[in-house]
Amino acid sequence: MRTIRSLTLLGVVLAIAPAGVSPAADAGRTWLEDGIRASLSGSKVKDRDLAIAALSGDASEPSTRLLSALLDGALYCDKDSGAVFIQENGVFLDLDGKDAGVAAARLKKSAVDNKQRKEIAAILNRRRLSDPDPEKRRTASAALMEIGAPELEREALTALIQAEKDPATAKNLRTALGIRLAKDADGDTETLLRAVEWLSAGGQPPAGLALELLAASPRREVASAAADALYWGKVGRDWTAIAETTFFGLSLGSILVLAAIGLAITFGVMGVINMAHGELIMIGAYVAWGMQRLLPGNSAAALFLSVPAAFLIAGAIGMVMERGIIRFLYSRPLETLLATFGVSLILQQAVRSIFSPLNRAVENPAFMSGMWQIGRSFNVTRGRFYILVFSAGVFFLIYAALRWTRLGLEVRAVSQNRAIARALGVRDARVDALTFGMGSGVAGLAGVALSQITNVGPNLGQAYIVDSFMVVVFGGVGNLWGAMIGGLILGIANKALEPFSGAMLSRIFILVFIILFIQKRPRGLFPQQGRAAES
């Protein structure tokens, strides 16, 4: 009953237009007339064209609000009456911004397609260019340089530049004007030379394209100035490309290192060929997913909490594996390989049966998504950067634990000479279990990091097991530094090759290289030295 009454009320409000919101809305104004409303609530996406065209001509605040809601997919229509609501934080507001108190079940989203979204974004961006807030003007002017951005008219740009006081915004606007001038290719030599100056100051890809147009200009002065600017732009881009490839390589390497550190402990230090290592990574990723389910709406906290949780859970599973199966098979590598391979299949199918074979969606917290722009065109993706930092942190913690703690000392003692270590009172069985647990726990940590960039599903582990072994063998068995350096080298080499040979061939090249390398140096980059290495 209440809904019905509020709906009728709303109908009245809509009919007389929200006079309180927009001062321009006098009695004769029909900014949300029936035609537009019908167009917003129509069942076909194309129906929206009419409303967008009508709203684009009306720069009032409610029209902007309506358009941005349409853009964000927050505009809903009543299925029967066609009344329009804007969703904000799960509440449906009417056009006055008051809670309309309608049930979501009665509403249907007013959808738009790509083309319309682009159109709306352009309309809103144009309005934002004359917003009183300089911050908004700056982002709006930067958006003019993005891929596929709509262009403004020369007169409009000139007017905006004259009115603009913020230097960054003015610079962007001038670049946009430069692009426009280059495309039209008219104006005297002086104007075009100024355009070259603006464009080379801008430096974004569309500016580069505009410079190329000017470099082909019949006026010699303009052409040579543009060619100069292009040359320096190209030099800058070459350096950016090198920096980019290095970052991509380090980032891929950091993931390889993260996946391999656990194996460097269990395989490198203990000599256990653990084929279930990948599944321990997968369990870590599922812990990240589970934590996110436990703390809905707070993905950042869930991610931080899943770091210790994944370490403990994967570590505990690793210890159970060691106590239950692996300890009976020490010094029988072939049987260990087969047994752990069996465990890996069991774990995979268990996950399939318990959580379904489908992948699970793990959200990226806000601080993990997006990128930083450094300089003109060098971008660093945040998620990758944090994973790199995380990977380095995990490495140094494990390194410190093995180097400077009592347990680390015992681990090294047992791995070097079990009999003597026992004679000196080291409880080797306990050390074995803890070492294996630590290696498995680190695999769990890798899983948390991977949940941010790839699928969380039963097959996650398989994708990383080969790479992990590759890194450990390449770096040198029994050496943490080897795993670190080896992983980074493989990552960078892979990314350096990729632009020339494609992802498929670069992987093959790397594998062939490792085969040859192992032929030459069977003990890897950093072979173990001393007597322990002989056994």
Partner: protein, 425 residues
């Protein structure tokens, strides 16, 4: 007297046992051959469930030809040679009357000789690369002209795309589909410099440099789109990297041929809004048949959140077409069913009809959908009419003159209309 009663009782018992046995022998067996373990379980498990649901439904309606249907489920474990073994087992040991199964093209290629040798009947429910028509297979998924070509038309006409990136996983479907798309684009006057082709291994997870390259390719001043034939696991890291590098659908839209509702349920779709997919069915399609199907599916799986997708619709159509063909033929004999099934029309889930054509493909509508933040698709474009599936692409050298026709007098899967011979020459 007592003895007689005993004998009579024994007789009754024997008769009822033999009757029961006869009844058991008379069930119609429906083979279901989808991977329930291994890499492909992610996609195929759902199809097994939908087949069990369809069989159960049919039994509730009183079975078929007065007999009950019985589903025989096998698990080929995502292992291509095992597909052939399981197909042989279904046809020779379990003696099934029909098989619904396979997902990847390589698994279909692996079972094809088995079905032809033992004269079985396979319903294949997934969109595929075409260039094939077997007497023993009904292709209920889309051929390239029912998915790829209309999608390219949409990008070119509606979004005014001029530069193309064809990104695919390195195996038979993307390679063939991209060959067809490339030939089609070039026939339209697109030059080499405006086409970039990129193949990646299965489950490729590090997309940083490729996405950076796409960005560079897309900033040449012409509207650019990615046509993605990436398979399975590679999609999530790909879309995540696109979002991380701020490539929105407004700048460079991605049109995917293998991403459906099921795949999206494993992705956080908020950064993906506006990217596209081309299918013949979406769960969001507004029709009575679809609403009923979704309700049944939720009731069967006891899970309100389970999504439906295009290959499920293909099985729905295929199963109903088979049921009608069996009723028309009056038997489950493969030859009789194959003869009866051509020309049969059954409702699809979009409110239209699907007809089984002479080339063992179907008529289908083509829909373009945009990804929404809730993991569903919003239909933004559809073909006006049903598109008949074309087994042999008109855009490839060597397959242009071929047709498939499984009716007399042609009765051939690769008939050359120029030379009037069967055998592809």
């Amino acid at each position: 007297m007592k003895k007689n009663v005993k004998l009579a009782l024994l007789g009754v018992l024997l008769i009822s046992i033999s009757a029961a046995m006869a009844g058991a022998a008379e069930t119609i067996k429906v083979g279901v051959m989808h991977s329930l373990s291994g890499t492909m379980a992610i996609s195929e498990t759902t199809l097994k469930d939908v087949m069990l649901m369809l069989v159960e439904e049919q039994n509730k309606k009183g079975g078929l030809l007065g007999r009950r249907l019985e589903a025989v489920v096998v698990d080929p474990a995502s292992d291509w040679p095992v597909f052939a073994e399981k197909a042989r087992q279904l046809l020779t040991q379990d003696r099934v009357d029909v098989v619904f199964g396979c997902w990847t093209s390589v698994s279909r290629k692996s079972v094809l000789p088995v079905f032809e040798e033992l004269n079985g009947l396979l319903f294949y429910p997934v969109q595929y690369e075409g260039e094939e028509s077997s007497r023993n297979i009904i292709y209920t998924g889309a051929a390239p002209n029912q998915q790829a070509i209309p999608a390219i038309d949409y990008l070119r006409d509606e979004l005014e795309v001029e530069r193309w990136i064809l990104a695919g996983t390195d195996y038979v479907f993307p390679r063939t589909a991209n060959k067809i798309i490339e030939a089609y684009l070039k026939a339209q006057g697109v030059v080499d410099a405006d086409i970039m082709i990129n193949y990646t291994p299965f489950s490729h997870s590090d997309w940083q440099s490729i996405v950076a390259e796409i960005k560079k390719f897309g900033s040449a001043g012409k509207k650019t789109a990615v046509v993605s034939t990436l398979n399975g696991d590679a999609n999530v890291p790909f879309y995540k990297e696109l979002a991380n590098q701020d490539l929105t659908a407004a700048a460079i839209p991605v049109m995917a041929f293998s991403v459906g509702e099921e795949e999206l349920s494993g992705i956080d779709t908020k950064p993906l809004v506006g990217h596209l997919a081309a299918w013949n069915y979406f769960q969001s399609v507004d029709s009575e048949e679809n609403a009923e199907f979704i309700a049944k599916w939720h009731a069967f799986t006891k899970d309100e959140k389970r999504v439906t997708n295009d290959p499920m619709e293909a099985h729905y159509i295929g199963f109903n077409a088979w049921v009608q063909a069996v009723e028309k033929a009056g038997s489950t004999d493969v030859d009789a069913v194959l003869e009866a099934i051509i020309g049969i029309s059954v409702p699809n889930l979009g409110g239209g009809m699907a007809t089984v054509l002479k080339n063992h493909h179907l008529t289908k509508p083509v829909l373009i959908g945009e990804i929404q933040s809730d993991g569903q698709f919003q239909v933004v474009w559809e073909t006006d009419d049903l598109v008949p599936g074309d087994a042999w692409s008109d855009h490839l050298e060597g397959s242009r003159d071929l047709i498939a026709d499984w009716t007399d007098p042609v009765n051939c899967g690769n008939y050359n209309v120029k030379t009037k011979t069967c055998g592809g020459q």
